[in-house]
């Protein structure tokens, strides 16, 4: 049973998360900054009438920040009642991934990635990291939630 995944790019690497964890995708035209926000949180935006914090995945993944472009996207994810918008470099694709395409990450990588990468999917030559949304947004509640 193949599962639809939303694919996005951060710093040249392709990541994916299941479509049913995604509430909505939005273009990014900047966020309203929040004073004293946690590291990686660039501000808050409105999505479908809800206020959602924006987490910059570049900052979260320890990459250099870049200016937002036309390709910048917000992937609004949902974990139970929590909704967090992930700011990514681009997101233009959804993919159906079969279970046999999905493998656990190599041990060294699993150690290094703080558990952000749940699995690695192979799409021919392409390698797509399946993120653990819960781990990525962290346990503590973010401003704006």
């Amino acid at each position: 049973m193949s599962i639809l995944h939303v694919v996005f790019k951060v710093g040249g690497t392709e990541y994916a998360m299941p479509a049913d964890e995604v509430l909505q995708m939005e273009s990014y035209g900047g966020a309203t900054p929040v004073p004293g926000a946690a590291r990686g949180v660039v501000g808050i935006v409105q999505v479908r009438g809800r206020v959602v914090p924006v987490l910059d995945l570049r900052a979260r993944f320890g990459l250099e920040p870049i200016a937002a472009t036309l390709n910048s996207r917000l992937v609004v994810g949902q974990d139970g009642a929590r909704s967090v918008a992930l700011l990514v470099d681009s997101a233009r694709e959804v993919l159906k991934l079969d279970p046999e395409q999905i493998e656990p990450p190599p041990p060294m990588m699993a150690d290094d990635s703080q558990g952000f990468v749940r699995a690695v999917a192979r799409m021919g030559e392409r390698l797509v990291m399946l993120i653990d949304f819960k781990r990525v947004i962290g346990e503590e509640r973010l401003h704006g939630e």
């Binding site: 639809l4 939303v6 479509a19 049913d20 995604v22 909505q24 995708m25 939005e26 273009s27 036309l70 390709n71 996207r73 997101a91 233009r92 694709e93 959804v94």
Partner: protein, 776 residues
């Protein structure tokens, strides 16, 4: 199962258990029916929500459709403007081709100009060489003329000397003439005295005859006669003296004639000298005429060469003007193409903006399709068709995005090319300006050449005029030299005749001298005889007969003497005539000499004038030489200018080649621009098509959404019906439950204690709740 429990008392306890279990299961069934009803209501609610969401997504789709419509309009606009851009590009390409052909024209014209300039330069060099040659020949001519002038000066000096000599000759001739006159008068005197003598002799002869006749009678009168004889002797003595005087005069005459002869010989030699120097002067003037004619020919050659140079310089000027016009044409064409390029750049920017808009729309479409995919996945089986549509929309939007990215790339390339074209056209304008400046310089140089040629023509004309004047002067000189020569020859002839006449005069004088000597001798003898006669006068008396005889002899002798006197008279007359003739000749000689002198004076004056003229000619030749050297220098400067203009033209040619190359590159760039424009047009068309397809797909999507909505309504309706059925089931179960209660009541109260339904029921409810939660 309840019935069997009631009929068998033995198993009453088991039946009760069974009934209890039935009651439990009925209770469970009721609970699950209620749960089902609840869950069906939940489903109904969920379906309603789903319906709402589907409606929302249909609204989103409509929005999308309208935005796609906008995209389509924009794409059509883009296609139109791309068409316009492509047309503009084609126009640009055509104008660039026009520029290229112009540049080729220019190149050809410049080559022509170069060729004619090379020709001009070559002819200038030729002219310079000719000018140098003419200068050197003019210098030669000048030297010749100077030499000639010197020769004429010498001739003049010689002529002066000759004139002096001729003057002295003339003077001596005049003095000779005078002495001749004296001689003539002396001769006339002599003739008179000879006549007298002759008459006396005749008289004497007559008297001697009378004496002889009267001898016999005289015999008697001898004594008387003695005195007469003495008288005769005295007169004879006188005759002898006269005769001696006569001889002396004749001697003097002869020596004068000899002197005359000598001086006429010296005149002849002088005249010979005059003649030879006149001939030399004639030869020199002939030479002068030849060299002057050569100067004229040379100046004619220079004139025709300068005319040729003038014509080719004028041609060069025309070609330069043509090339200036061509360069101006190139400049305007380049400026026009620059303007077109700028316009093209602006259009390309507009296209860039439109492409940006398309990109944005494609981005939004992609986002919408992603969201649609996510929603479709959430809808599960019902959302499958929707997911396919969303995928198609995404694919279309990606295609639109990639097409617009390609367009953007092409537009960027177009802008770069347009900027480059503008830059290169500015360079082209600069090059054309430089070419125009250089062509103007070339024109100025050609004008300078023309004015230089005019100057050359002027100096050549002056030279020609001077040469013509010289020719005329030399002709005058030649003529006067010929006249001098002729006159000298005439003089020479006359002098020769004079010399001959002098010679015959000298001969006549010698004969006269001889005769005079003879006469003197005869007179001496006579005197001696008379003296003897006087001596023998004493014997006369004695020898009268002897005297008579002697008288007779004397008479005979007297007759002979008379005859001799007649002869002498004739000779004297001859001498007289000769002397008269000589005198006349001398007068003629004098006149001739005078004429010669005056002619010589005139010749000297002419020669002086000639010398003056020759000096002037020499001066003029010096001027000509200076002018020729000026001309040579000007011609060499001209040659240098020609070389410079040639170099300038070569530079122009190089520039023209560069311009041609630049325009060829421009043409190539414009062609690639045209091709790029075609590509842009094609891509715009594809975009338009894709957008149309997108619109169609969206319409299909909307239809699918509608269908989905309908099916959802159906689902809702069936769910409601289902709910009603379930509620009926619940009712039936409730009835069943009451009936079981009745059965239980009939079966006995003992069972009552065995009905822990509340506990079991709450457990069942809990289980049902668990199941529901699980399903949720």
């Amino acid at each position: 199962m309840a019935n069997s429990g009631a009929k068998t008392p033995a198993s009453k306890h088991g039946v009760r258990e069974l009934v209890e279990s039935i009651a439990v299961s009925i209770e469970e069934t009721g609970a699950s029916s209620r749960g089902l009803a609840r869950s069906q209501r939940d489903v109904s609610e969920a379906v309603t929500e789903l319906q709402r969401e589907v409606e929302a997504s249909a609204g989103g789709l409509r929005e999308m459709a309208s935005s796609v419509q906008t995209v389509r309009k924009d794409a059509e606009l883009l296609a139109q403007s791309v068409d316009a851009t492509a047309a503009t590009l084609e126009e640009t390409a055509r104008s660039v081709k026009g520029v290229a052909s112009n540049a080729e024209d220019l190149s050809a014209a410049v080559e022509e100009l170069q060729a004619s300039s090379v020709e001009t330069s070559a002819s200038l060099v030729d002219m310079a060489a000719r000018g140098e040659a003419s200068s050197s020949s003019i210098a030669e001519v000048g030297a010749t003329i100077e030499e000639m002038s010197k020769g004429i000066g010498r001739l003049a000096a010689d002529s002066q000397v000759v004139g002096e000599r001729v003057g002295s000759v003339s003077a001596s001739v005049v003095s000779i003439g005078k002495s001749f006159g004296e001689v003539a008068s002396n001769a006339a005197e002599l003739a008179a005295s000879v006549e007298e003598t002759s008459q006396m002799i005749e008289e004497m002869a007559r008297s001697v005859r009378g004496v002889a006749d009267h001898a016999k009678a005289l015999e008697s009168a001898t004594r008387d006669n003695a005195s007469t004889v003495t008288e005769v002797a005295a007169s004879v003595e006188e005759v002898a003296a006269t005769s001696e005087k006569n001889a002396a005069v004749i001697e003097a005459n002869a020596s004068a004639i000899e002197e005359l002869s000598r001086s006429s010989q010296s005149i002849a030699s002088s005249v010979e000298q005059v003649n030879s120097s006149a001939q030399a002067s004639e030869r020199a003037s002939m030479q002068l005429a030849g060299t002057t004619k050569r100067i004229g020919d040379l100046s004619d050659g220079v004139k025709s060469a300068s005319d040729r140079v003038s014509v080719s310089a004028r041609e060069g000027g025309a070609v330069v003007a043509k090339s200036i016009a061509g360069i101006g044409g190139i400049r305007t064409a380049i400026l026009e193409s620059s303007v077109v390029m700028k316009e093209m750049g602006k259009r390309a920017e507009e296209i860039g903006d439109i492409v940006q808009t398309i990109n944005l729309i494609a981005d939004r479409t992609n986002l919408l399709s992603l969201n649609a995919s996510i929603e479709a996945a959430r809808a599960g089986e019902h959302g499958r068709g929707f997911a396919v549509v969303a995928d198609e929309i995404r694919a279309l939007s990606d295609r639109a995005a990639s097409a617009s990215a390609e367009i953007a790339k092409i537009v960027r390339g177009l802008q770069t090319t347009a900027r480059e074209a503008v830059t290169s056209s500015a360079e082209g304008v600069k090059a054309a300006d430089e070419g125009a400046t250089l062509a103007t310089h070339a024109d100025g140089a050609l004008r300078a050449i023309l004015s230089g040629i005019d100057e050359v023509g002027g100096s050549v004309r002056e030279m020609s005029g001077a040469a013509a004047e010289q020719v005329a002067a030399v002709q005058v000189v030649t003529q006067s030299a010929a006249k001098v020569s002729e006159q000298a020859r005439t003089i020479s002839r006359a002098v020769t005749e004079q010399a001959q006449a002098s010679q015959s005069l000298v001969k006549g004088a010698a004969e006269m001298r001889q005769m005079a000597k003879q006469t003197t001798q005869a007179a001496g003898e006579q005197a001696r005889a008379l003296r003897g006669m006087v001596q023998s006068n004493h014997q006369l008396t004695t020898t009268a007969e002897q005297v008579a005889r002697a008288a007779q002899e004397q008479a005979t002798a007297a007759t002979q003497l008379a005859k001799a006197a007649v002869q002498m008279r004739a000779s004297t007359q001859q001498i007289n005539g000769a002397i008269g003739e000589q005198s006349r000749n001398m007068a003629a000689i004098g006149a001739n000499a005078q004429e010669v002198a005056s002619l010589t004076q005139r010749t000297i004056a002419g020669l002086t004038e000639q010398a003056k003229g020759a000096a002037e000619v020499a001066k003029a030749m010096d001027d000509i030489r200076k002018q020729a050297s000026h001309t040579a220098r000007a011609v060499s400067e001209q040659a240098k200018a020609g070389k410079q203009s040639e170099a300038a033209i070569r530079q122009v040619a190089q520039l023209a080649v560069q311009v041609t190359r630049a325009t060829a590159e421009q043409t190539k760039a414009a062609q690639s621009l045209v091709k790029a424009g075609d590509d842009v047009r094609r891509i715009a068309r594809q975009t338009a098509r894709a957008v149309a397809e997108q619109a169609e797909a969206l319409a299909a999507l909307a239809a699918a959404a509608n269908r989905q909505n309908t099916s959802l309504v159906n689902v809702a309706r069936s769910t409601v019906q289902q709910t009603a059925a379930t509620e009926e089931v619940a009712q039936t179960v409730e009835d069943m439950k009451s009936r079981v209660r009745e059965i239980v009541g009939v079966s006995g109260n003992g069972v009552k204690g065995l009905l822990p339904g509340a506990r079991n029921g709450s457990a069942a409810t809990k289980a049902a709740d668990r199941r529901r939660t699980k399903r949720d």
